[in-house]
Protein backbone atom coordinates (compact mmCIF):
# COMPACT_ATOMS: atom_id res chain seq x y z
CA UNK A 1 0.00 0.00 0.00
CA UNK A 2 1.40 3.41 -0.92
CA UNK A 3 2.38 5.90 1.76
CA UNK A 4 0.62 9.24 1.94
CA UNK A 5 1.44 12.19 4.17
CA UNK A 6 -1.21 14.49 5.54
CA UNK A 7 0.22 17.91 6.28
CA UNK A 8 -1.96 20.52 7.93
CA UNK A 9 -1.94 24.17 6.88
CA UNK A 10 -3.47 26.99 8.87
CA UNK A 11 -2.58 30.30 7.33
CA UNK A 12 1.19 30.54 7.55
CA UNK A 13 1.40 27.70 10.05
CA UNK A 14 2.33 24.36 8.58
CA UNK A 15 2.22 21.06 10.46
CA UNK A 16 4.39 18.43 8.82
CA UNK A 17 3.27 14.81 9.02
CA UNK A 18 6.40 12.82 9.93
CA UNK A 19 4.83 9.34 9.95
CA UNK A 20 2.46 9.29 7.02
CA UNK A 21 -0.10 6.56 6.57
CA UNK A 22 -0.34 3.60 4.26
CA UNK A 23 -3.62 3.82 2.35
CA UNK A 24 -5.06 1.29 -0.09
CA UNK A 25 -5.30 3.86 -2.88
CA UNK A 26 -5.79 7.55 -3.62
CA UNK A 27 -9.50 7.31 -2.75
CA UNK A 28 -8.67 5.90 0.68
CA UNK A 29 -6.13 8.69 1.22
CA UNK A 30 -8.78 11.27 0.37
CA UNK A 31 -11.20 9.70 2.85
CA UNK A 32 -8.48 9.74 5.51
CA UNK A 33 -7.87 13.45 4.88
CA UNK A 34 -11.58 14.22 5.16
CA UNK A 35 -11.85 12.14 8.33
CA UNK A 36 -8.91 14.03 9.85
CA UNK A 37 -10.30 17.40 8.83
CA UNK A 38 -13.68 16.59 10.35
CA UNK A 39 -12.03 15.30 13.53
CA UNK A 40 -10.08 18.53 14.10
CA UNK A 41 -13.06 20.57 12.94
CA UNK A 42 -15.37 18.91 15.46
CA UNK A 43 -13.04 19.83 18.26
CA UNK A 44 -13.00 23.40 17.04
CA UNK A 45 -16.80 23.36 17.16
CA UNK A 46 -16.58 22.23 20.80
CA UNK A 47 -14.25 25.10 21.55
CA UNK A 48 -16.41 27.55 19.62
CA UNK A 49 -13.86 28.75 17.06
CA UNK A 50 -13.71 27.47 13.51
CA UNK A 51 -10.82 27.85 11.12
CA UNK A 52 -12.65 27.42 7.83
CA UNK A 53 -9.54 27.90 5.72
CA UNK A 54 -7.43 25.37 7.54
CA UNK A 55 -6.63 22.57 5.14
CA UNK A 56 -5.14 19.13 4.89
CA UNK A 57 -2.62 18.68 2.10
CA UNK A 58 -2.20 15.14 0.89
CA UNK A 59 1.26 14.31 -0.42
CA UNK A 60 2.24 11.07 -2.11
CA UNK A 61 5.38 9.03 -1.61
CA UNK A 62 7.33 11.30 -3.98
CA UNK A 63 6.27 14.25 -1.80
CA UNK A 64 4.05 15.65 -4.57
CA UNK A 65 0.97 17.50 -3.45
CA UNK A 66 -1.85 15.36 -4.79
CA UNK A 67 -4.93 16.72 -3.10
CA UNK A 68 -6.08 19.43 -0.70
CA UNK A 69 -9.19 19.59 1.38
CA UNK A 70 -10.16 22.75 3.25
CA UNK A 71 -12.19 22.35 6.38
CA UNK A 72 -15.02 24.34 4.86
CA UNK A 73 -15.39 21.76 2.10
CA UNK A 74 -14.95 18.74 4.38
CA UNK A 75 -18.43 19.28 5.75
CA UNK A 76 -21.70 20.15 4.15
CA UNK A 77 -23.20 23.28 5.64
CA UNK A 78 -26.98 23.31 5.39
CA UNK A 79 -28.99 26.40 6.15
CA UNK A 80 -32.76 26.38 6.11
CA UNK A 81 -34.43 29.41 4.46
CA UNK A 82 -35.73 32.02 6.94
CA UNK A 83 -39.34 31.60 8.07
CA UNK A 84 -41.89 33.84 6.35
CA UNK A 85 -44.33 35.85 8.44
CA UNK A 86 -47.25 33.91 9.85
CA UNK A 87 -45.68 30.53 9.15
CA UNK A 88 -45.96 28.26 12.21
CA UNK A 89 -42.69 27.37 13.85
CA UNK A 90 -42.01 23.66 13.83
CA UNK A 91 -39.31 22.34 16.03
CA UNK A 92 -37.82 19.25 14.57
CA UNK A 93 -36.52 16.76 17.07
Amino acid sequence: MPLFRFHIRRGLEFVFDPDGLHCADFGAAKREAIRGARSIFSEQVHEGKLWLDESIEVHDEADELVWTVTFATAVEIVRTPPLSRGQPMIYAA
Binding site: F6, I8, V15, F16, D17, P18, D19, L21, E32, A33, R35, G36, A37, S39, I40, E43, H46, E47, I56
Partner: protein, 275 residues
Protein backbone atom coordinates in the same frame (compact mmCIF):
# COMPACT_ATOMS: atom_id res chain seq x y z
CA UNK B 1 22.81 3.52 53.48
CA UNK B 2 24.93 1.09 51.61
CA UNK B 3 24.90 -2.55 52.47
CA UNK B 4 28.03 -4.41 53.42
CA UNK B 5 30.45 -4.85 50.51
CA UNK B 6 30.10 -8.04 48.57
CA UNK B 7 26.35 -8.32 49.15
CA UNK B 8 24.67 -6.97 46.11
CA UNK B 9 21.10 -5.85 46.50
CA UNK B 10 20.75 -5.75 42.75
CA UNK B 11 20.47 -9.53 42.46
CA UNK B 12 17.68 -10.76 44.71
CA UNK B 13 17.54 -14.13 43.01
CA UNK B 14 17.68 -17.52 44.62
CA UNK B 15 20.96 -19.19 43.83
CA UNK B 16 21.06 -22.04 41.36
CA UNK B 17 22.12 -24.22 44.26
CA UNK B 18 18.91 -23.33 46.07
CA UNK B 19 16.97 -24.32 42.97
CA UNK B 20 18.83 -27.59 42.74
CA UNK B 21 18.14 -28.38 46.35
CA UNK B 22 14.40 -27.99 46.18
CA UNK B 23 13.30 -29.14 42.79
CA UNK B 24 13.37 -32.28 40.76
CA UNK B 25 16.35 -32.33 38.37
CA UNK B 26 14.19 -32.50 35.24
CA UNK B 27 12.56 -29.25 36.23
CA UNK B 28 15.87 -27.59 36.86
CA UNK B 29 17.19 -28.50 33.43
CA UNK B 30 14.15 -26.90 31.92
CA UNK B 31 14.47 -23.83 34.07
CA UNK B 32 18.11 -23.01 34.48
CA UNK B 33 18.50 -21.69 30.95
CA UNK B 34 16.00 -18.96 31.63
CA UNK B 35 15.86 -18.99 35.36
CA UNK B 36 15.94 -15.24 35.80
CA UNK B 37 13.66 -14.30 32.94
CA UNK B 38 10.66 -13.67 35.16
CA UNK B 39 12.58 -11.24 37.35
CA UNK B 40 10.83 -8.12 35.96
CA UNK B 41 7.50 -9.75 36.80
CA UNK B 42 8.64 -10.42 40.37
CA UNK B 43 9.99 -6.87 40.64
CA UNK B 44 6.61 -5.50 39.63
CA UNK B 45 4.68 -7.65 42.10
CA UNK B 46 7.09 -6.74 44.89
CA UNK B 47 6.19 -3.08 44.44
CA UNK B 48 3.04 -3.97 46.35
CA UNK B 49 4.99 -5.45 49.24
CA UNK B 50 7.83 -7.84 49.72
CA UNK B 51 7.00 -11.49 49.12
CA UNK B 52 8.16 -14.35 51.37
CA UNK B 53 11.32 -16.03 50.09
CA UNK B 54 9.60 -19.26 49.07
CA UNK B 55 6.93 -17.33 47.17
CA UNK B 56 9.54 -15.33 45.30
CA UNK B 57 11.28 -18.50 44.34
CA UNK B 58 8.06 -20.20 43.29
CA UNK B 59 7.24 -17.23 41.09
CA UNK B 60 10.65 -17.20 39.44
CA UNK B 61 10.43 -20.92 38.87
CA UNK B 62 7.03 -20.84 37.22
CA UNK B 63 7.19 -22.90 34.06
CA UNK B 64 7.33 -20.60 31.07
CA UNK B 65 8.56 -20.35 27.53
CA UNK B 66 10.34 -17.30 26.21
CA UNK B 67 9.48 -15.74 22.88
CA UNK B 68 11.35 -12.98 21.13
CA UNK B 69 9.00 -11.45 18.60
CA UNK B 70 9.13 -8.62 16.10
CA UNK B 71 6.82 -5.62 16.03
CA UNK B 72 3.26 -6.29 14.95
CA UNK B 73 2.93 -9.91 16.06
CA UNK B 74 -0.29 -11.19 17.59
CA UNK B 75 0.38 -13.07 20.79
CA UNK B 76 -3.30 -13.68 21.34
CA UNK B 77 -6.41 -13.24 19.25
CA UNK B 78 -9.90 -12.36 20.35
CA UNK B 79 -12.12 -15.41 20.66
CA UNK B 80 -9.31 -17.95 20.44
CA UNK B 81 -8.72 -20.18 23.41
CA UNK B 82 -5.70 -19.12 25.47
CA UNK B 83 -3.77 -21.62 27.55
CA UNK B 84 -0.99 -19.27 28.64
CA UNK B 85 -0.62 -15.93 30.38
CA UNK B 86 1.79 -13.43 28.89
CA UNK B 87 4.36 -11.37 30.79
CA UNK B 88 6.20 -8.63 28.91
CA UNK B 89 9.94 -8.71 29.60
CA UNK B 90 11.10 -6.12 27.08
CA UNK B 91 9.44 -3.88 24.51
CA UNK B 92 5.82 -2.76 24.33
CA UNK B 93 2.61 -4.67 23.67
CA UNK B 94 -1.00 -3.56 23.51
CA UNK B 95 -4.46 -5.00 23.86
CA UNK B 96 -7.02 -3.87 21.31
CA UNK B 97 -10.47 -4.51 19.94
CA UNK B 98 -11.48 -4.13 16.33
CA UNK B 99 -14.91 -3.07 15.11
CA UNK B 100 -16.76 -4.45 12.08
CA UNK B 101 -16.05 -1.16 10.24
CA UNK B 102 -12.32 -1.75 10.65
CA UNK B 103 -11.65 0.88 13.28
CA UNK B 104 -9.50 -0.15 16.17
CA UNK B 105 -9.43 0.84 19.82
CA UNK B 106 -6.26 0.20 21.79
CA UNK B 107 -7.35 -0.72 25.32
CA UNK B 108 -4.05 -0.81 27.14
CA UNK B 109 -0.33 -0.52 26.57
CA UNK B 110 2.03 -2.85 28.41
CA UNK B 111 5.73 -2.75 29.16
CA UNK B 112 8.44 -4.55 31.08
CA UNK B 113 7.14 -6.56 34.02
CA UNK B 114 3.45 -6.34 33.11
CA UNK B 115 1.42 -9.51 33.35
CA UNK B 116 -0.85 -8.68 30.46
CA UNK B 117 -3.53 -11.31 30.55
CA UNK B 118 -3.49 -12.99 33.92
CA UNK B 119 -7.23 -13.25 33.49
CA UNK B 120 -6.60 -16.20 31.18
CA UNK B 121 -6.08 -18.22 34.34
CA UNK B 122 -9.84 -18.10 34.84
CA UNK B 123 -11.35 -16.79 31.62
CA UNK B 124 -9.82 -18.89 28.87
CA UNK B 125 -11.19 -17.02 25.86
CA UNK B 126 -9.99 -13.40 25.70
CA UNK B 127 -12.26 -10.60 24.51
CA UNK B 128 -9.33 -8.68 22.99
CA UNK B 129 -6.30 -9.10 20.77
CA UNK B 130 -2.77 -8.87 22.12
CA UNK B 131 -0.24 -7.34 19.74
CA UNK B 132 3.40 -6.26 20.03
CA UNK B 133 4.01 -2.58 19.32
CA UNK B 134 7.77 -3.02 19.15
CA UNK B 135 10.16 -5.90 18.99
CA UNK B 136 9.50 -7.58 22.30
CA UNK B 137 10.46 -10.38 24.58
CA UNK B 138 7.64 -12.15 26.36
CA UNK B 139 7.30 -15.07 28.71
CA UNK B 140 4.31 -17.35 28.29
CA UNK B 141 3.25 -19.02 31.52
CA UNK B 142 0.71 -21.84 31.47
CA UNK B 143 -2.60 -20.44 32.69
CA UNK B 144 -3.09 -23.47 34.91
CA UNK B 145 0.18 -22.72 36.74
CA UNK B 146 -1.00 -19.18 37.50
CA UNK B 147 -4.37 -20.45 38.67
CA UNK B 148 -2.68 -22.99 40.91
CA UNK B 149 -0.35 -20.40 42.36
CA UNK B 150 -3.25 -18.09 43.20
CA UNK B 151 -4.79 -20.85 45.27
CA UNK B 152 -1.59 -22.08 46.91
CA UNK B 153 0.15 -18.82 47.71
CA UNK B 154 -1.89 -16.09 49.35
CA UNK B 155 0.90 -13.49 49.28
CA UNK B 156 1.23 -13.86 45.52
CA UNK B 157 -2.53 -13.92 45.13
CA UNK B 158 -2.67 -10.62 47.01
CA UNK B 159 0.02 -9.07 44.81
CA UNK B 160 -1.67 -10.25 41.60
CA UNK B 161 -4.97 -8.94 42.90
CA UNK B 162 -3.48 -5.48 43.54
CA UNK B 163 -1.89 -5.61 40.10
CA UNK B 164 -5.21 -6.31 38.42
CA UNK B 165 -6.91 -3.59 40.49
CA UNK B 166 -4.30 -1.07 39.37
CA UNK B 167 -4.87 -2.19 35.79
CA UNK B 168 -8.53 -1.46 36.34
CA UNK B 169 -7.62 1.98 37.70
CA UNK B 170 -5.69 2.69 34.50
CA UNK B 171 -8.68 1.47 32.53
CA UNK B 172 -10.94 3.91 34.38
CA UNK B 173 -8.57 6.74 33.62
CA UNK B 174 -8.66 5.76 29.93
CA UNK B 175 -12.44 5.75 29.98
CA UNK B 176 -12.38 9.31 31.29
CA UNK B 177 -9.84 10.10 28.61
CA UNK B 178 -11.91 9.05 25.62
CA UNK B 179 -15.17 10.10 27.20
CA UNK B 180 -14.51 13.53 28.60
CA UNK B 181 -11.12 14.94 27.73
CA UNK B 182 -10.40 16.92 24.60
CA UNK B 183 -7.80 15.80 22.07
CA UNK B 184 -4.89 17.74 23.54
CA UNK B 185 -5.66 16.69 27.10
CA UNK B 186 -6.11 13.04 26.09
CA UNK B 187 -2.74 12.84 24.42
CA UNK B 188 -0.91 14.80 27.13
CA UNK B 189 -2.44 12.54 29.76
CA UNK B 190 -1.48 9.39 27.88
CA UNK B 191 2.10 10.58 27.46
CA UNK B 192 2.41 11.42 31.17
CA UNK B 193 1.01 8.03 32.12
CA UNK B 194 3.39 6.17 29.84
CA UNK B 195 6.39 8.13 31.15
CA UNK B 196 5.41 7.54 34.76
CA UNK B 197 4.95 3.82 34.18
CA UNK B 198 8.24 3.65 32.31
CA UNK B 199 10.02 5.23 35.27
CA UNK B 200 8.18 3.11 37.83
CA UNK B 201 9.19 -0.05 36.03
CA UNK B 202 12.80 0.98 36.56
CA UNK B 203 13.79 1.43 32.94
CA UNK B 204 14.70 5.09 32.99
CA UNK B 205 13.48 8.64 33.39
CA UNK B 206 9.85 9.62 32.93
CA UNK B 207 10.79 12.60 30.81
CA UNK B 208 12.79 10.66 28.25
CA UNK B 209 11.48 7.32 27.10
CA UNK B 210 11.25 5.24 23.95
CA UNK B 211 8.09 6.06 22.09
CA UNK B 212 7.51 3.59 19.28
CA UNK B 213 3.85 4.38 18.68
CA UNK B 214 2.85 5.81 15.32
CA UNK B 215 0.30 8.60 15.02
CA UNK B 216 -2.20 5.99 13.93
CA UNK B 217 -1.61 3.99 17.11
CA UNK B 218 -1.82 7.06 19.34
CA UNK B 219 -5.07 7.77 17.51
CA UNK B 220 -6.27 4.26 18.33
CA UNK B 221 -5.42 4.83 22.00
CA UNK B 222 -7.17 8.18 22.20
CA UNK B 223 -10.02 7.70 19.75
CA UNK B 224 -8.68 10.33 17.35
CA UNK B 225 -7.67 10.29 13.69
CA UNK B 226 -3.96 10.18 12.80
CA UNK B 227 -4.17 13.63 11.22
CA UNK B 228 -5.64 15.04 14.40
CA UNK B 229 -2.94 13.36 16.52
CA UNK B 230 -0.28 15.01 14.38
CA UNK B 231 -1.89 18.40 14.91
CA UNK B 232 -1.99 17.93 18.69
CA UNK B 233 1.64 16.76 18.83
CA UNK B 234 2.61 19.81 16.87
CA UNK B 235 0.79 22.10 19.28
CA UNK B 236 2.46 20.40 22.27
CA UNK B 237 5.82 20.82 20.55
CA UNK B 238 5.08 24.45 19.74
CA UNK B 239 4.33 25.10 23.42
CA UNK B 240 7.71 23.56 24.23
CA UNK B 241 6.15 20.83 26.37
CA UNK B 242 7.77 17.98 24.48
CA UNK B 243 9.96 16.97 21.60
CA UNK B 244 10.20 13.76 19.64
CA UNK B 245 13.63 12.59 18.63
CA UNK B 246 14.06 9.41 16.67
CA UNK B 247 11.27 7.41 18.32
CA UNK B 248 12.12 8.85 21.73
CA UNK B 249 9.75 11.11 23.55
CA UNK B 250 11.42 13.92 25.42
CA UNK B 251 9.28 15.84 27.88
CA UNK B 252 10.71 19.32 28.09
CA UNK B 253 8.34 20.60 30.73
CA UNK B 254 6.85 17.85 32.93
CA UNK B 255 4.64 20.09 35.10
CA UNK B 256 3.42 21.80 31.93
CA UNK B 257 2.57 18.53 30.19
CA UNK B 258 0.92 17.16 33.34
CA UNK B 259 -1.16 20.33 33.58
CA UNK B 260 -2.10 20.07 29.89
CA UNK B 261 -3.23 16.49 30.49
CA UNK B 262 -4.85 17.02 33.87
CA UNK B 263 -2.53 14.24 34.99
CA UNK B 264 -2.04 13.16 38.60
CA UNK B 265 -0.09 10.00 39.11
CA UNK B 266 -1.89 8.68 42.21
CA UNK B 267 -4.03 6.20 40.28
CA UNK B 268 -0.86 4.39 39.25
CA UNK B 269 0.24 3.89 42.82
CA UNK B 270 -1.29 1.30 45.10
CA UNK B 271 -0.26 3.28 48.17
CA UNK B 272 -2.31 6.29 47.16
CA UNK B 273 -1.05 9.65 48.27
CA UNK B 274 2.61 8.77 48.11
CA UNK B 275 2.97 10.57 44.82
Amino acid sequence: MLGPPGRSRACPLPSIAACLGRHAPTQVIALTSSWSALLPFLAKLERYGRLPADDREALLLLPHSLRTVIRGVHILREGERATTCCVVLAGYACRYKILPNGSRQILSVHMKGDGVDLQNAFIPVPDYNLLTLTAAEVALIPAAAIAEMLVDRPAIARALCIDMLLDAAIQREWTVNVGRRNARTRIAHFLCELGTRYETSGMGERDRYPFPLTQEQVGDVTGLTPVHVNQVFQSLRADNLLATEDRTLVVRDWPGLAAAGGFRSDYLNHARGNG
